[in-house]
């Protein structure tokens, strides 16, 4: 699923040009990074919120673009802002009454094994399982698996050591295969997950 991605250095150059008021560079920066931001937030929060969260990310990012000095890659900088946006959204959501559209691990896992499902459905189900992961593991998993970043880049975005990313990715994998495995044997409960 690794998309052919624009060079990090080029994106950073666009961000720095946009900071100096170059409108064309700003547009290129947006087009080159938007997909990663959208998929990142869509995998961390409810997909229905992805558009709003993406916009909020850019609103914050462009508001503080003048303080971006190119010391790290602009993509990483943007994703770390997206990460904060999601954290803030989750906090805000906890203040409000709960919605019923929380991801249901059991249900999703059982649908994952329904015969005759399409690849699109499979993607949706896997997406739900990923969203049901523990927040830290999910973050590491989405950055490295869905966006295809290296462990080092993911560590910078999450502000943690590379070894932490490595173990979170491994645990996320463990959690996911356990969920899928438990769905194959429906009589077992998922309490261990």
């Amino acid at each position: 699923m690794k998309p052919s991605r624009t060079n990090d250095a080029e994106i950073t150059d666009w961000a720095l040009s946009a900071r100096r008021g170059d409108q064309a560079a700003l547009e290129q920066f947006l087009r080159a990074t938007q997909q990663d931001v959208w998929r990142f937030v869509a995998n961390l929060a409810e997909p229905g919120l992805a558009d709003d969260l993406t916009q909020e990310t850019y609103l914050r990012a462009l508001g503080s673009l003048r303080r971006f000095e190119g010391r790290c890659s602009a993509r990483g900088w943007l994703l770390s802002i997206a990460r904060r946006v999601v954290v803030d959204q989750v906090r805000a959501a906890q203040v409000r009454p709960r919605h019923s559209n929380e991801p249901d691990w059991q249900d999703a896992a059982e649908r994952a094994h329904r015969p005759g499902k399409t690849r699109f459905e499979e993607g949706v189900v896997l997406g739900e399982l990923v969203r049901a992961l523990d927040a830290d593991r999910r973050e590491a998993f989405v950055l490295t698996q869905t966006l295809g970043l290296t462990y080092a880049d993911a560590a910078e975005i999450c502000d943690c050591p590379v070894g932490t990313i490595r173990s979170r990715v491994a645990r996320a994998r463990e959690d996911l295969i356990t969920a899928l495995q438990d769905a194959e044997t429906p009589h077992r409960r998922l309490s261990a997950v």
Binding site: M1, A18, R20, G21, Q23, L26, E27, L30, R31, Q34, W38, R39, A42, P47, L49, D51, D52, T54, Q55, E56, Y58, L59, R60, L62, S64, R66, R67, F68, E69, G70, R71, C72, W77, S80, I81, R84, D88, Q89, A92, A93, R119, F120, G123, V124, L126, T144, Q145, T146, Y151, E156, D159, R166, S167, V169, A170, R173, E174, L176, I177, L180
Partner: protein, 259 residues
């Protein structure tokens, strides 16, 4: 007996821990990343551990499913984002260019004085001491010119020069007024001070513009961008709860302003 049982439990724990670290190594290997163990150790363990072999098969299958499953289409929000965000103000070059011109004029003036051309000073009558004082003043004038040029090129350098130049202009104004009253200075020489005064004014303007535009970043600024964000509060009620919360929760180092 008790000791033996404890020992066995410890061994079981050790086995669990061992599998966990090998699985981490397998997971890293799958992503072509550096694992916590040598490849040889991992291979040896996996060859002898059925649970880890199964784990490896399942995670590989999971990875494949993630690769082949169809990702939801990503909408293009570029136009919406552009419409909703004010683009950063373009940098205005006028002030810096003016400062550079003044700096060059000031330096040129100092150089002609150093080279002994007539700049309104009666350099002929002073003897050695006077001659050296003139050279010294020319050197200072040249230094002011160089400093101003540097600030025109690198606006962040403007702040440090302000007190020096302001002090210079203040004292120069007082002594000039005194000398003018006593008839010790020519109008031509006084006019040449105009560049320093103009330079000070432009230096201040460039400094202000630079500060307003960029606010010299904290050392870790690139990583801590979110504490001055503009919230979508009006359009997005979800943001309200967080917008009201003080946002300065990150590392204290983020608030140091490098002058």
């Amino acid at each position: 007996m008790k000791i033996g049982r404890n020992l066995r439990r410890a061994t079981d724990d050790l086995l669990m821990v061992r599998c966990e670290i090998f699985r981490e190594a397998l997971s890293a290997r799958m992503d072509s990343e550096l694992g916590p163990l040598s490849e040889k150790d991992v291979d040896e363990h996996v060859a002898s551990c059925l649970a880890c072999q199964a784990w490896c098969d399942r995670t590989t299958a999971l990875r494949r499913s993630l690769l082949v499953c169809v990702a939801p289409p990503v909408p293009d929000l570029t136009d919406t984002i552009l419409a909703n965000t004010p683009s950063p103000a373009p940098e205005k070059w006028g002030l810096r260019v003016a400062l550079a011109l003044v700096a060059i004029a000031q330096s040129g003036l100092a150089l002609t004085q150093l080279l002994g051309m007539d700049t309104g000073m009666h350099a002929g009558h002073g003897g050695f001491t006077m001659s050296h004082l003139l050279n010294e003043s020319a050197a200072w004038n040249l230094a002011v010119g160089v400093g101003l040029l540097w600030a025109a090129l690198r606006p962040q350098a403007a702040a440090g020069q302000l007190p020096v130049l302001a002090g210079f202009v203040l004292v120069l104004t007082i002594v000039s007024a005194d000398d003018l009253a006593g008839g010790n200075v020519t109008a031509g020489r006084l006019e040449s001070h105009g560049f320093v005064v103009l330079g000070l004014a432009l230096l201040y303007a460039v400094h202000r513009r630079h500060r307003d535009r960029l606010e010299p970043g904290p050392v870790t600024g690139d990583l801590l961008m979110t504490d001055n964000h503009i919230s979508l509060r009006d359009r997005n009620p979800r943001a309200t709860a967080t917008a009201d919360r003080p946002r300065r929760t990150t590392r204290p180092a983020g608030h140091h302003h490098a002058a």
